[in-house]
Symmetry: C2
Subunit: 215 residues, 2 copies
């Protein structure tokens, strides 16, 4: 079971397009955008509210632009939002998935089903995954336990029978707390969040996965 954004797909691949729309501000904008996007999923969930990830992503973009003094119009918004349908995979994504053919592969993501299907199709991965789960079913975002419960229900498996791979520290912590087997893909040597739960395994590239799993 893989997380999508930041794990299989590089959310930083919106930087180039952001920089075309707002020259000199691409990196600043894409980082604030991603960070607000996550913050909004947490805040909404905590307020007992739910809005689809597309909507959350659009609002985070609007906030980020206003906050940086960048003037958005409908064309900017459409162009930048469409980047979420065609995020690049990381360089270790495809070589890893190709080697995991003996496993049942799936995705669990904050993205809405439509966003995920288009993303996976555009990356040529539509036949790679047995199932693509969106938190949309539970109407609450990760790291709520209800988000991880979706995959157990959908695959009729116990938490401990599922291996979950994420590059997002909060996600792998939420999954570990829920009881999934967890693999933290820490590509950029970042610090694990101090939330009292450690992932089962830490790797620096997805390509370590086939080696570990086939041991």
């Amino acid at each position: 079971m893989f997380d999508a954004y930041g794990t299989l797909f590089d959310t930083d691949s919106v930087t180039a397009q952001s920089d075309r729309e707002f020259p000199g501000h691409g990196s600043e904008l894409s980082h604030l955008w991603r960070s607000k996007q996550l913050e909004y999923t947490w805040l909404l969930s905590l307020m007992g509210e739910y809005q689809e990830f597309w909507e959350v992503t659009r609002k985070a973009l609007r906030f980020s632009c206003h906050s940086l003094g960048l003037v958005l119009n409908d064309t900017n918004i459409r162009t930048l939002m469409n980047e979420y349908y065609r995020l690049r995979t990381f360089s270790d994504t495809l070589p890893t998935l190709e080697k995991l053919t003996e496993f049942r592969l799936a995705i669990l993501s904050n993205g809405s089903s439509d966003m995920l299907e288009r993303l996976v199709n555009n990356a040529g991965l539509s036949s790679t995954f047995e199932k693509i789960f969106s938190v949309d079913v539970a109407k609450i975002y990760k790291p709520s336990p209800r988000a991880y419960q979706i995959v157990c229900d959908g695959l009729t498996l116990e938490p401990s029978e599922i291996g979950f791979v994420s590059a997002n520290s909060f996600d792998v912590i939420g999954a570990a707390r829920f009881g999934l087997q967890t693999f933290w893909c820490n590509r950029t040597n970042t610090q694990l969040d101090e939330l009292d739960v450690d992932p089962m395994v830490e790797i620096t590239s997805l390509q370590e996965l086939p080696i570990i799993l086939n041991r």
Copy 2:
């Protein structure tokens, strides 16, 4: 009803001490510390977990230092954490509270009761507030509706009978969504978060409050 951290008390007042402990890194450290502190309250709450604010604050400090490559020891931790007992009030805090004597004044904060009592005492404000409410009673952090419910239960008032003042965008949005009358103190001309609820009133200094309320 006032929020404490960032509203009556300036969390940036830890910057000077941070800079004494880690010369040249005070501002960077205090900003990351505050931002991780809030992030951890949201993530823990969303995972259905609760840890006291003191503990959350300590963990956010540890993460921030590790993340910035700053080496913490027990003395650093104690010195920096103790700053949370004696945060400075903002320049508009005392002049405002002095003019609101005809109102019942209270605090609702993420801080644990012990932290809040020491903070308020150290600022010489112990006789100013009728009650000091900590989310500790509900064991969940703002902006959960359960955090705001505490004040209605504690004062036996309906949400619409309570005016809530916060400088934190997410807090004033959570309070407005819950049904409190809300006043957003936007001292630094920041952008309101795009979460579909607007505060009733926006002010740029607490000193506008007595004018508005006595109208």
